[in-house]
């Protein structure tokens, strides 16, 4: 560890220090606003430090972490998403009767775990990051512990995440037992370097690892927890689980399977194809049966991860770009939809039933417009980020001739359109009651939440209409990934 190494891990250090500072601030003076400002300052500091780090990147810091353009891009994405989550959480938590400040310590810790994951090219740092993320998420899911649903969500997540971590660890152990290395780069040279080796333990190891990774990504058949956790967790936390937690794992999935070359193994390809198809079909079909908006979003996120896997399977630079771009669009949209839910929620319950959105347009036209735009982006309608993202996914899939997967993607997207439209129809339905008396009784929405939503909407349309600059950044970042 010398000066350059410390510079390279500056974002991680800033996040760590920010978490401790917020905790100390809470025990000196309990103030919600102070905690939020300190958190935002820490996140902004970490984000700005990325440019300092870029001057020394790419660099391998200890055998555990690699700080390259790819890691920096994903760190930026995670920090930005956490920033938005914190703003949403501020408006949401103001309405709650609970200790509010500790949530930000947990959010910062979880963001740190995710940031470690995207920079890891070693099993140890992978697992370390994953656990820092997961343990913080257990507490975040059950944060409003005087309600029933968050507790249920917290316990379910705890049990399942712990079991899946055990699977992952066992998989790593088997691969280590066979190859004698924990480093991605060395695994690659053994796996496809032409050295003949015994495959007895490699395949079980990979299968167990895919189980652990699949759980975090919430892809079928490891998706059972998703709807319950999304429904139970406080809306901003659900947004965090859907974006930062999954985003970190997607980044790692790309790095691990591309840098070790494991995606070229025929059986791995087959398993991921089945997972992708099952996720697209099950996610979209099960969403049709839901009446709870948060559950619909949960199933839709399962389907979206399935879409991403299609491009992931295509392999190569273009595929990594497509997945990354889709992830950016997915981040913006998911934060937006959960943002609307958290802005509308109150101190007793989250606004997750269909009735909460009936005739929303006639009560809050601007919010209804934002929500519509977000849902259209999830459905992949042109002029939104979701459309451009889906376009790149299909382009990547076509270049690798994955026609079966693309066919499933297109057909299930059409099915998916239906349940997004169901929410949109509910929003614009004219209420049977008198319209004019309602607006006077409406409580004011939190200003911070509105600000975050406005920012997300601008970003959504910008990426949808003019994706060039974002694409350049992503291309530059992904080019540092060493793909075998």
């Amino acid at each position: 560890m010398n000066g350059t190494d410390l510079t390279a891990v500056l974002p991680l250090l800033i996040l760590t220090v920010a978490a401790v500072v917020v905790m100390v601030a809470v025990c000196i003076r309990r103030s919600h606003l102070l905690a939020v400002w300190l958190t935002l300052a820490g996140l902004a500091g970490a984000f700005v430090s990325l440019w300092t780090v870029a001057t020394v990147a790419p660099i391998q810091v200890t055998p555990l972490l690699v700080i390259d353009g790819y890691a920096l891009f994903y760190m930026g994405l995670i920090i930005a998403a956490t920033f938005v989550t914190v703003i949403l959480a501020y408006g949401y938590m103001e309405k709650q009767q609970a200790y509010r400040e500790e949530l930000y310590v947990l959010i910062l810790t979880a963001a740190l775990g995710s940031a470690v994951m995207v920079a890891s090219n070693h099993f140890v740092s992978f697992f370390l990051g994953l656990e820092v993320l997961s343990v913080a998420l257990y507490a975040m899911n059950a944060y409003l512990c005087n309600r029933k649903l968050p507790l249920e969500a917290g316990i379910k997540y705890l049990v399942l995440a712990a079991v899946s971590a055990a699977f992952l660890l066992f998989g790593m152990a088997l691969i280590y037992a066979q190859l004698g290395t924990l480093q991605f780069g060395q695994i690659a040279s053994m796996l496809i370097g032409g050295v003949s080796y015994d495959k007895t333990l490699i395949y079980p190891g990979l299968a167990l690892m895919i189980t652990g990774i699949g759980f975090k990504l919430a892809v079928v058949p490891f998706h059972m927890w998703t709807p319950d956790v999304y429904e139970g967790a406080p809306a901003p936390v659900a947004a965090f689980v859907a974006t930062v937690s999954k985003g970190g794992m997607v980044a790692l999935l790309l790095r691990y399977f591309y840098e070790t070359g494991a995606y070229r193994l025929h059986s791995v390809f087959l398993v991921f194809s089945i997972i992708a198809i099952a996720s697209m079909i099950a996610g979209n079909l099960l969403a049709l049966l839901q009446n709870n908006v948060k559950r619909i979003l949960a199933y839709s996120s399962i389907a979206h991860l399935g879409y991403m896997l299609v491009a992931f399977l295509a392999g190569g630079d273009r595929a990594a770009e497509a997945v990354t771009f889709y992830l950016v669009a997915y981040f913006v949209t998911t934060l937006g939809t959960f943002g609307v839910v958290s802005v509308l929620s109150n101190g007793e319950r989250d606004a997750d039933s269909m009735d909460d959105y009936e005739g929303l347009f006639w009560r809050r036209p601007i919010l209804a417009g934002v929500f519509t735009l977000m849902l259209l982006s999830l459905a992949g309608i042109p002029l939104t980020a979701g459309f451009v993202g889906k376009f790149f996914l299909i382009a990547a899939g076509t270049s690798a001739s994955l026609y079966g997967l693309i066919f499933t993607l297109v057909v299930t997207s059409v099915v998916g359109l239906f349940y997004y439209l169901r929410i949109i129809v509910a929003i614009y339905k004219t209420p049977a009651e008198v319209v004019t008396t309602v607006p006077a009784a409406l409580p004011a929405l939190s200003r911070s939440g509105n600000l975050a939503l406005a920012g997300l909407t601008v970003l959504l349309v910008w990426i949808g209409v003019y994706p060039g600059p974002m694409l350049d950044v992503i291309q530059h970042a992904v080019s540092t990934l060493r793909i075998f």
């Binding site: 560890m1 401790v20 905790m23 100390v24 025990c27 000196i28 015994d198 007895t200």
Partner: protein, 124 residues
């Protein structure tokens, strides 16, 4: 890979406890007095249900024990290699300990270390 020792081992693992249970069932004596079914055949007759609610404080104590005990493990493992890891290692363990102290201060401030009844805490 030689597989048969594992298979043999697996069946031995199954056989040993099964053998113990079966043998003690066959060879063991049987009797049926009126106190045979009770948890202890001597002493005070047990009463009430075992479903007693413990105070949440016990869980807290147990959790703090696990947390801080584990931290001690990390510090000791540093102490063993203190000379070899040098100043960098010292800085890292220092940072670790500072975070630990901050956590302790936080817990103290939160009242997690006040184990007495609530009324006593207020008078202090």
């Amino acid at each position: 890979m030689v597989l048969w020792p594992f298979v043999v081992f697996f069946f031995v693992v199954l056989l040993v406890p099964a053998g113990m249970i079966v043998l003690s069932h066959v060879l063991g004596q049987r009797h049926s007095e009126h106190a045979t079914g009770s948890p202890y055949e001597a002493g005070i007759v047990s009463e009430g249900s075992a479903e007693v609610r413990f105070s949440i404080k016990f869980y807290l104590i147990a959790m703090f024990f696990v947390v801080f005990d584990l931290e001690a493990v990390f510090i000791v493992s540093w102490a063993v290699a203190a000379r070899e890891v040098g100043w960098a290692g010292y800085l890292e363990i220092l940072f670790f300990t500072i975070i630990l102290v901050a956590t302790l201060a936080y817990l103290w401030r939160l009242g997690a270390l006040d184990w007495g009844p609530k009324t006593r805490r207020k008078t202090r």
